[in-house]
C-alpha cells in the first residue's frame, strides 16, 4: 500500500465514521418528523428551521444529564456495555462499497475502506458480536427489567441471525463470492439481485428489522412492559450511545440491503449517460444514499404502522416460518442453478 493510499484510507475511514454518525443523528430527527406526519402532526419545528437543530439540542441534553451508575451494578461491565454496542455499530461500515472509486492519474482510489474477501461473514460476525453490548449492559444493570430485556434481545438476535444467514447463503450461492465489492459489481451487468432472490430479500428484510431491534420486533426495549428494557438503568450519554448505535445499525443495515439486493451504487443505464469516471462515481454515491434513504423510510414507516409482536409469535415466526422458508429458498436456488447450468 502506498503512502497516498494509506492517507486516503484513513481519511475515508473518518468520513465513513462521520457520515454514519451524522446520518444517525439526523435519522432521529427524521424519525420524529415522519412519526409526526404519519399521525397528522407537525413534529419538531422549534430548534432551527424545520427543527433541523433538534439532534444537536438532543445531544447537548444527553451530555449534560446526570450520569447515574447504580450501586448494585457491575461498574466496569456497566460502562463496557454501551461502548461495545457503539463500537460494533461503527465497525460494520468499513466493508460497504459506497461508490466505484476515484481515478487519480494511474491509481484508482476505491470508495470502500477495505475489501476483505469475507466481507459478508465479517458483517454477520460483527452484527452478532453487537448483541453482547446489549447483554452485558442488561446483565450489569442488576435489574430485573434490564435483564429480561437483555435476555429477549439475545434470544431474538440469535433466532433471527440463523434465518438471516440462511437467506444470505442462497445469495452467496448465486454470486459465488463473499466480497461485497464483487457482489455489487456483478449487479452492474445484469439485474439487481432482488430479481433473482425475492424470497431471500424478504427474509433478510424481516431479519434486519429484528436484528436492529426495530418495531414490530422491538421486544428488547418494549416500553409498555419492561420500562426501558436493557437500558432501563442507563442515563446520560451511555443511554445516548445505546439509542444512537441503534440508528447507526439501521443506517448500516439499510446500506447492506441496498448493496446486496438492490444493486448498491449501480443504477440502470448508468453507462449510457456518457459521464466521466469521477463524475459517475459521485452520481453513483448519491444514488446509493438515495437507496439507503428509501430503506430508512421503510424502517420508519413500518415502525409507525405495526404494533409489536408478542414474544411467542416472534419465536414462531423466526424458527417455524422464516428458517424453513430460507432453507427452501436455498434448495430452490440450488435446483435452478443446476438446471440452468450456472453451477460452479
Amino acid at each position: 500500500m502506498t503512502d497516498s493510499m494509506l492517507i486516503y484510507k484513513i481519511i475515508l475511514c473518518v468520513i465513513v465514521f462521520a457520515v454514519s454518525l451524522g446520518a444517525a443523528a439526523y435519522m432521529t430527527w427524521g424519525e420524529r418528523k415522519l412519526a409526526a406526519w404519519l399521525q397528522d402532526r407537525v413534529g419538531p419545528n422549534r430548534a432551527g428551521p424545520l427543527g433541523l437543530l433538534q439532534p444537536i439540542a438532543d445531544g447537548i441534553k444527553m451530555i449534560f444529564k446526570e450520569e447515574m451508575i447504580p450501586t448494585h451494578s457491575n461498574r466496569w461491565l456497566f460502562i463496557l456495555g454501551p461502548s461495545f454496542f457503539m463500537l460494533c455499530a461503527c465497525m460494520t461500515g468499513v466493508v460497504i462499497p459506497w461508490g466505484a472509486g476515484w481515478q487519480s492519474g494511474e491509481t484508482l482510489y476505491p470508495m470502500q475502506v477495505t475489501d476483505i474477501n469475507i466481507g459478508l461473514l465479517y458483517l454477520l460476525s460483527v452484527v452478532s458480536i453487537g448483541v453482547y453490548g446489549v447483554m452485558i449492559g442488561g446483565w450489569a444493570s442488576n435489574n430485573k427489567f434490564a435483564l429480561l430485556g437483555a435476555l429477549r434481545a439475545s434470544s431474538q438476535m440469535i433466532s433471527y441471525e440463523v434465518a438471516m444467514g440462511m437467506a444470505l447463503i442462497a445469495l452467496v450461492m448465486m454470486t459465488g463470492t463473499l466480497s461485497l465489492k464483487e457482489i455489487v459489481a456483478q449487479q452492474d451487468a445484469g439485474f439487481a439481485n432482488v430479481v433473482y432472490q425475492p424470497l431471500g430479500f424478504i427474509i433478510f428484510l424481516i431479519c434486519a428489522f429484528a436484528e436492529t431491534n426495530r418495531a414490530p420486533f422491538d421486544l428488547p426495549e418494549c416500553e409498555s412492559e419492561l420500562v426501558g428494557g436493557y437500558h432501563t438503568e442507563y442515563s446520560s450519554m451511555k443511554l445516548g450511545f445505546y439509542l444512537f448505535a441503534e440508528y447507526i445499525n439501521m443506517f448500516i443495515s439499510s446500506a447492506i440491503m441496498a448493496s446486496l439486493y438492490f444493486g448498491g451504487y449501480n443504477f440502470p443505464f448508468q453507462h449510457e449517460l456518457g459521464l466521466d469516471g469521477n463524475v459517475l462515481t459521485a452520481v453513483q454515491t448519491a444514488v446509493f444514499f438515495g437507496k439507503i434513504l428509501m430503506f430508512i423510510f421503510l424502517f420508519m414507516w413500518i415502525r409507525w404502522t405495526l404494533p409489536r409482536f408478542r414474544y411467542d409469535q416472534l419465536m414462531n415466526l423466526g424458527w417455524k416460518v422464516l428458517l424453513p422458508l430460507a432453507i427452501a429458498n436455498i434448495i430452490i436456488t440450488g435446483f435452478v442453478m443446476l438446471f440452468t447450468g450456472k453451477l460452479g
Binding site: 415522519l34 406526519w37 404519519l38 397528522d40 402532526r41 407537525v42 414507516w301 404502522t305 405495526l306
Partner: protein, 195 residues
C-alpha cells in the same frame, strides 16, 4: 336471555390463507399510514397561530362596568349560589356618598373572587346575574406557578375603561330579551309571582 339487540355472537373462525400470511394486512395498514402522510396536519402552532374560538366560547370572566364607568355588580350573590363548583365568593359593602361614579347601585362587591381552579366554565353565573355584570369571555385563563395566583380578585376581573371587553357576541339582543321576559318562570321575582 337477550337483553339488548346490540349483542354480537363471537365467531372464532379459521383464518384464511391471506390472513395467515400477514402481508396483505400489513400492506393495508401501511397504505393507511401513508395516506396520513399527505393529510392536513391537525396541529395549531400556538404562539404564532391562534385557535379560532366559537362565538360563545366560555373563558375567563369579566365584571362589566356600565357606559359611565360604574361597576354593575351589586353583590347580590346569585352567581355564587348558581355556581355548581362553588368557585365564587364575595363580600358586599355599602356605597358611600361621592362614590356614585364608581358603583351603579347602593350596594357593591367589596371583594369579589373567582377561584379559576374550581371554576368549570359552565356559564351559570352569567345566566343568574340580574344586573348583566358578569360575563364569560373568549380570553383563556393564563397558567401560573402557584395555586394562590389562580384566585382572581377584582383587580383582574373588573374591566378597565381604557380596554373594554366586548361581550356583544354573548349578549345578543335575543339573549337580553329572553333574560328579561317575565313569561318564563325563572325570570320572575317573588313580587311578579304574587301578582
Amino acid at each position: 336471555m337477550q337483553l339488548t339487540n346490540r349483542s354480537i355472537q363471537v365467531v372464532k373462525k379459521e383464518l384464511t390463507l391471506s390472513e395467515r400470511l400477514y402481508f396483505p394486512a400489513i400492506l393495508k395498514g401501511m397504505l393507511i399510514t401513508l395516506s396520513h402522510l399527505f393529510k392536513r396536519k391537525a396541529t395549531i402552532k400556538y404562539p404564532e397561530q391562534d385557535r379560532e374560538l366559537a362565538a360563545v366560547y366560555r373563558g375567563q370572566h369579566v365584571l362589566k362596568r356600565d357606559d359611565a364607568g360604574a361597576e354593575r355588580c351589586t353583590a347580590c350573590g346569585l352567581c355564587a349560589v348558581a355556581c355548581p363548583a362553588e368557585a365564587i365568593t364575595m363580600e358586599s359593602a355599602e356605597r358611600k356618598k361621592g362614590e356614585e361614579g364608581l358603583y351603579r347601585e347602593e350596594k357593591y362587591a367589596k371583594i369579589y373572587e373567582i377561584n379559576m381552579l374550581r371554576c368549570i366554565f359552565c356559564g351559570l353565573c352569567e345566566d343568574a346575574c340580574p344586573k348583566e355584570a358578569i360575563f364569560l369571555t373568549d380570553r383563556i385563563v393564563p397558567s401560573s406557578f402557584t395555586r394562590g395566583e389562580e384566585v382572581f380578585g377584582k383587580d383582574i376581573l373588573v374591566e378597565s375603561m381604557t380596554e373594554r371587553v366586548d361581550v356583544s357576541k354573548r349578549q345578543t339582543p335575543e339573549v337580553l330579551s329572553f333574560k328579561n321576559d317575565k313569561k318564563h318562570k325563572h325570570n320572575q321575582t317573588y313580587l311578579d309571582r304574587k301578582n
